[in-house]
């Protein structure tokens, strides 16, 4: 039987999603029997021209991880889209923007200034910054991918068939997803490859939640010893579980760390809006001063509530037409 062709590509990524393939453990052997990885920059040495040479739809599935920040990433994403039957947005960066999308809290100017010009460890008196068009020392023209003003998620630049969130998706999640793809047992296009329900469904600490939960003060983990059995919210420790998709097996909570929301939103595209709406309902505080005091316990609400989902957030997820 002919093997299925698969591609794995990384955009604006940390490499963790590529490593999650390794988390398959011995299951990789079975997958290797059925799948031929034809393009995987992290692990192989393919060329873009190899992909260009393929026929449209020749690749059965492309697993694309990472957010879209440069023109190269957009270009290759589009290339793989043409050449693939199925595209899976693999990992939270591709699904929602991920950690890189926190850069949307700053401007490109600000980022370049900090990274290349004015960070304490920079010595850059000529003020050299990456340019799309420049010349090498020998005078040859050099092109670098254009650095976009904003960080996008994968479906802002191409049509995505399935979403597998997680930072990164764990071995079980990847195995289940690959199994479903290979068996052709897939939900309708556009779906997530995980249940449409929030983490609290599985979490064994949910039973400790009182019927009338209120938060009088936000406590930070560096200040308190978290009770390993009680619901974090009930301890005043922010847990994104209620606004985060289930399916990861909640290893963080099992490790006595609250959920930070890496599996992205459920029932909505805007994880931050949902979480802050829920919190607003259960905070204590009648006067403006009291409310302000409680909210001061969350010094970076945008970063906290949109840690993984900024590109899927507030300002919309309009399909990008052309780059600014």
């Amino acid at each position: 039987m002919s093997k299925v062709k698969a591609a794995i590509y990384w955009c604006s990524s940390c490499g963790g999603c590529d490593e999650s393939i390794v988390d398959l453990g011995e299951r990789i052997l079975a997958i290797r029997e059925a799948v031929d990885f034809v393009f995987w920059p992290c692990a192989m040495d393919p060329k873009y021209s190899d992909v260009e040479a393929m026929a449209d739809g020749e690749i059965t599935v492309s697993l694309i991880n990472g957010a879209i920040r440069t023109s190269e990433q957009e270009e290759i994403a589009k290339l793989l889209r043409r050449k693939s039957q199925l595209v899976v947005a693999f990992g939270s960066c591709a699904c929602f923007g991920g950690i890189p999308a926190l850069a949307n809290l700053k401007s490109k100017e600000g980022i370049f200034d900090r990274s290349y010009l004015n960070s304490p460890t920079n010595v850059n008196p000529e003020g050299i910054v990456p340019l799309e068009h420049s010349k090498t020392a020998e005078g040859y023209p050099m092109e670098l991918p254009r650095f976009y003003e904003t960080v996008y998620k994968l479906d802002d630049v191409i049509e995505v068939d399935y979403y597998l969130p997680g930072c990164s998706p764990n071995g079980d999640m990847v195995a289940n997803a690959m199994g479903a793809i290979l068996a052709g047992k897939l939900p309708p296009k556009g779906s997530f490859l995980l249940p449409d329900i929030a983490l609290c469904k599985s979490c064994d600490r949910n039973a400790t939640k009182p019927d009338s939960l209120t938060i009088t003060e936000f406590k930070r983990l560096i200040h308190v010893q978290a009770d390993p059995e009680q619901c974090f919210l009930n301890q005043g420790i922010l847990c994104m579980g209620p606004a985060t998709r289930d399916g990861c097996g909640y290893p963080c909570v099992k490790g006595n760390m609250p959920c930070t929301g890496c599996m992205g939103p459920v029932g909505s595209k805007d994880q931050g809006a949902r979480m802050l709406s829920a919190l607003g309902g259960i905070l204590e505080g009648e006067s403006e001063e009291q409310i302000s005091k409680v909210l001061d316990g969350l010094p970076d609400p945008a970063g906290t509530f949109y840690r993984y989902s900024m590109s899927s957030s507030l300002m919309g997820s309009k399909r990008k037409e052309n780059n600014p």
Partner: protein, 647 residues
């Protein structure tokens, strides 16, 4: 037809027509893909208008309608009825407010017309997403529970029994009567309190529909209006129903206990009733003081009881009652400012609160109504201090409004026994309303009460002299030297108010009194449907006010819960999708009516549609958007937003 709306434009005479170009709107609507038919009328709300609506809806076979007219707060109901007459569900009738919120506030006709257009488009968008709302009815229980057996509770219960309902009174003491049973004559007209109460208590005893459960604490009130379950824990009193209160066991009992009924001014035995002739008549044994129950040898009461009514093996009991409504009438506590040293209320001096003074002058009191000082002699001079411990930082911050008339009564009561007694009433402002109370004060003054005005009552100091007399320093007045001081104090919420409010999920105000649903239109209702209050637990009341509130509270409950009639429920209630609810319970925490309960089997939250009032707060809270706020769904709101912005 299924995806189109019938549009009605109302001219409202000149009210809309003069400010909005309705012809232009009609022309626009005719080309609007979402409109199957548009028509204009002068007054849609008039009889001719309503006929017109019904005829049009019928002839067009309309599935949905939008009325571009006045405010829905005015005529949504009117148009709903028209739709229902032709078999449409009222949820299919939308409105665009182009009068109050457009024609009347936009002077420029072009702008007004454009604004009306966008409002209409918004309503059209929304109407495509309207879903029929099913009218819901619920059967209800019509029996009542009253918590508290003072005058308010007694009257509420009698009211219910008169209407043929079964009613249970839960009383924390071992017998009924509350505060009024401790009074001899009710100020200002001097009605005899025992004469007033006795027939009411007999009526309660003799009525088979009224059950009194005394010596209880209410522990749970579960359910909702029309369907409550009230649970209470009845403490063992070690006396059976055979007891008729003959008191044969009292004298032989060797143990004396401070009587809380007598406010510490007298004692009773370990086996006791509050006073002779109490209702229920059965005695009780104080388990903390009874020798036998403390493990010592004593059978004195058993040996002397002609009815064998003592049962040392009796256990606490849990009583459960189903009812349709609960009336809370737990009264208030008379404030005794023991922690205010300047008032000298230390339990050994001849400073007494007015309530203690009443004990000393009441025939069911420890002295058989003979007023004496602690050493047994009669007081020859008495100072009555108004607002004692009230309107000050170290006491109650508010005026209770019912104490002044009692404070003036003191003089009359004293002079009945000690005609030559000197009585001073030290006061600032006097709270006396109506001609009767005013006349009463003048009568007291004529009879000898000396009014001592003082602008700084918080500066009044009372000091016990070595010989037992009391020196009263009154700022701005000469010092008084008297045999007895009576502190006229205010009322504050009872010690069990907080716990009961929590059990009921009722709200307390800033002072700890039960908060009314609406201070004018529903003073006896709580924010929870089916839970009402009467008497001093709401605000300090005197007897007439308590009775009025009790009759009102029970009256409302009787009108709402009628045997054979079902209750119509709110239709725009929330719905939680069990497939997508993760059971995170955050919605439960935000529901103002505790209308959401957790299904521990399915591990999901569920809305009780009988309690839900349709505010939608839960839908906004749900972190996974699993809650639909019927008739105000996210999609419907978004459709309106699109309509007003894009037209």
């Amino acid at each position: 037809m299924a995806d189109k709306t019938t549009l009605f434009l109302c001219r409202c005479g000149a009210n809309i027509a003069d400010f909005v170009d309705l012809e232009a709107l009609e022309a626009w609507a005719k080309t609007n893909a979402g409109v199957d038919h548009v028509c204009v009328h002068d007054f849609l709300c008039a009889p001719s208008g309503k006929e017109f609506i019904e005829e049009t809806l019928k002839s067009q076979g309309s599935k949905r309608a939008v009325m571009a007219a006045c405010s829905p707060k005015l005529h949504q109901k009117t148009f709903n009825e028209c739709a229902e007459h032709v078999g449409m569900n009222s949820a299919q009738v939308g409105m665009a407010n182009i009068r109050e919120q457009c024609a009347w506030v936009t002077p420029d006709k072009v702008q007004a017309t454009e604004k009306a257009r966008t409002l209409i488009q918004a309503a059209l968008n929304r109407s495509l997403l309207h879903v029929d709302l099913k009218p819901q009815h619920m059967e209800c229980l019509t029996d009542m529970v009253v918590i508290g057996g003072g005058i308010a509770g007694i009257e509420a219960a009698l009211q219910a029994a008169e209407a043929g309902r079964k009613v249970t009174i839960f009383e924390k003491e071992i017998s009924l009567g509350g505060e009024l049973i401790k009074v001899e004559e009710i100020a200002p007209m001097g009605e005899c309190a025992p004469c007033l109460l006795a027939p009411r208590l007999s009526a309660i005893r003799d009525n088979p529909d009224i059950t009194v459960v005394s010596g209880v604490t209410v522990t749970d009130v579960l359910g909702f209006s029309g369907n409550f379950t009230v649970k209470a824990r009845k403490k063992a009193r070690y006396i059976t129903d055979a007891c008729i209160g003959c008191e044969a066991c009292f004298e032989p009992c060797p143990v004396d206990v401070q009587s809380t009924f007598h406010l510490g001014l007298g004692t009773h035995k370990a086996v006791y009733t509050l006073f002779p002739g109490s209702e229920p008549a059965a005695a009780a044994i104080d388990q903390d003081h009874c020798l036998h129950l403390q493990g010592k040898e004593c059978q004195a009461c058993v040996d002397n009881c002609p009815f064998g009514a003592i049962d040392f093996a009796q256990k606490d009991e849990v009583i459960e009652v189903q009812c349709g409504a609960v009336i809370v009438a737990i009264g208030a506590e008379v404030y005794a400012p023991k922690d205010v040293p300047r008032l000298g209320l230390n339990g050994t001096s001849n400073v007494f609160t007015y309530a203690e003074f009443e004990r000393l002058t009441c025939s069911n009191g420890p002295t058989g109504a003979t007023l004496t000082l602690r050493n047994g002699s009669a007081p020859k001079s008495v100072a009555v201090l108004h607002c004692a411990g009230s309107l000050c930082a170290d006491g109650l911050s508010y005026c209770s409004g019912v104490c002044c008339v009692n404070a003036l009564m003191a003089g009359e009561t004293i002079r009945k026994q000690i005609p030559d007694a000197i009585v001073y009433n030290i006061h600032d402002r006097l709270v006396l309303s109506g001609a009767e109370q005013e006349g009463f004060m003048r009568h007291q003054i004529k009879s000898g009460t000396q009014m001592v005005p003082c602008k700084d009552l918080a500066g009044v100091h009372i000091m016990e002299q070595p010989d037992g007399q009391l020196s009263v320093t009154v700022p701005g007045q000469a010092k008084l030297l008297v045999d007895m001081v009576i502190l006229s104090t205010g009322l504050r919420p009872g010690a069990n108010a907080k716990q009961l409010a929590a059990t009921l999920n009722a709200e307390l105000d800033a002072y700890g009194f039960f908060k009314s649903d609406h201070p004018i239109l529903n003073a006896t209702g709580s924010v929870i449907d089916g839970i009402a209050m009467a008497g001093s637990c709401v605000q300090p009341c005197h007897a007439p006010q308590s009775v009025v509130m009790a009759q009102a509270a029970m009256g409302r409950a009787l009108s709402r819960l009628v045997p054979g009639r079902t209750i119509e429920l709110e239709t725009m209630v929330s719905f939680i999708d069990p497939e997508h609810c993760a059971g995170c319970k955050l919605c439960m925490a935000t529901c103002p009516y505790k209308a959401i309960r957790f299904n521990s089997e399915k591990k999901t939250s569920e809305v009780n549609e009988a309690i839900c009032r349709g505010c939608g707060t839960c839908a906004a809270t749900c972190p996974s958007n699993a809650i639909t706020a019927r008739h105000f769904t996210n999609d419907q709101l978004l459709a309106e937003v699109k309509g007003v912005l894009h037209g």
